[in-house]
């Protein structure tokens, strides 16, 4: 059994975390009035906190939120905008390929590794770029809907 009085954390452990409490702490409290008093203080404190009145709302939160939901429900419009954006970007890429088709076909005819490497790197960059643009576009649209 512990001879000296318990530490604050040990008292709290006894009150709030009894299952993990060391046996020597339990033994000490059983035999020490001073520490027992400290246990009572924390027990009363805990009971007091539990009986604190819950905040009362002077408004109907559900009703207020529900009234604002239609603004958020405009999501399909956002998806339409995203697909429009993707179509626009793909259109630009397609037009570029069409305009430079002669140069591109010459490059493809060269049939060496460097050419394929350049084309595949270009394609990867284009895909990542499109994804990034769509992502940031969606983010902005979302924040606009939330503000209204």
């Amino acid at each position: 059994m512990k001879k000296e009085h318990l530490k604050e954390n040990e008292i709290q452990e006894y009150v709030f975390d009894f299952r993990n409490c060391n046996y020597s702490i339990i033994q000490h409290i059983d035999n020490c009035n001073t520490c027992k008093k400290a246990v009572t203080d924390y027990t009363l404190l805990s009971e007091g906190i539990k009986t604190q009145p819950e905040p009362l709302l002077e408004y109907d939160l559900a009703e207020m939120v529900m009234a604002k939901l239609p603004a958020v429900e405009k999501k399909p419009k956002r998806e339409y905008n995203s697909s429009g954006l993707v179509a626009l970007i793909l259109g630009i890429i397609g037009a570029t390929i069409y305009l430079f088709k002669n140069n591109i076909s010459t490059l493809v005819k060269l049939n060496d590794i460097a050419t394929y490497l350049i084309i595949s790197i270009g394609a990867i960059i284009a895909v990542l770029w499109i994804a990034d643009i769509v992502k940031s576009h969606n983010k902005k649209i979302n924040s606009i809907y939330l503000q209204h």
């Binding site: 000296e4 009085h5 318990l6 530490k7 604050e8 954390n9 008292i11 709290q12 709030f16 001073t34 520490c35 008093k37 400290a38 203080d41 924390y42 009363l44 404190l45 805990s46 007091g48 906190i49 539990k50 009986t51 604190q52 009145p53 819950e54 905040p55 709302l57 408004y59 939160l61 559900a62 207020m64 939120v65 529900m66 604002k68 939901l69 958020v72 429900e73 979302n142 809907y145 939330l146």
Partner: protein, 197 residues
């Protein structure tokens, strides 16, 4: 006969299918917890009102991204806590006082002399007054301490759940709870007579 309460999963599915009445049920089920956090973190009533709406609009727009890794209420509480944190940051309000010498007293030994005999208040204190005294002492704590004390003692959430909501490691959370309770106890005992409390 009692109708079975819909589960979180069922409610979420319904909301995602466009059934907004299911979202109404989600609000009713979770607003107690949300309001508890907001009232402990934020002082201004208008801000509280705005933040409570902002939280549920965020929940609504992010619901499709909910991964079922926690209870829906815990996830909503996390959004609430983060929204309050952002608000406090914008207003430059500290979420907790810096820890200095206060850190040591958590480990201090219970002294033989309890601070109960040196007090002034001799009058009778009713239950209501006692509750008000405690309420005002809780109110003096920092927003973080107030919140974790409420989540643990009033909402009876586990350490794990509170750690998830506040994004604190469990050890740190336990430490903060120790400090908050000790501070409350010390403040009460130094300001009021033990018998009155």
């Amino acid at each position: 006969m009692n109708k079975k309460q819909p589960t979180d999963k069922e409610l979420i599915k319904k909301v995602l299918r466009g059934d907004s009445s299911a979202f109404n049920i989600i609000i009713t089920n979770t607003q107690g917890l949300v309001i508890s956090i907001i009232y402990k973190m934020i002082r201004n009533n208008e801000d509280r009102k705005d933040i409570s709406q902002e939280v549920y609009l965020k929940v609504y727009s992010k619901l499709s991204g909910f991964k079922y890794k926690s209870k829906l209420s815990t996830w909503i509480a996390t959004i609430t806590y983060n929204t309050c944190l952002n608000h406090l940051e914008k207003k430059r309000i500290l979420v907790m006082e810096p820890i200095n010498d206060e850190g040591m007293d958590v480990w201090e030994t219970i002294s033989g002399e309890m601070p109960d005999d040196n007090n002034q208040t001799e009058r009778y204190v009713s239950d209501k007054e006692r509750s008000e005294i405690l309420g005002s002492e809780i109110d003096k704590l920092s927003p973080l301490y107030k919140t974790i004390v409420t989540l643990y003692h009033n909402e009876e959430l586990s350490y794990q759940e509170i750690a998830k909501i506040t994004n604190l490691p469990e050890g740190t959370l336990k430490n903060y709870l120790f400090r908050a309770r000790k501070k409350l106890k010390d403040n009460l005992l130094s300001n009021y007579k033990r018998g009155d409390l």
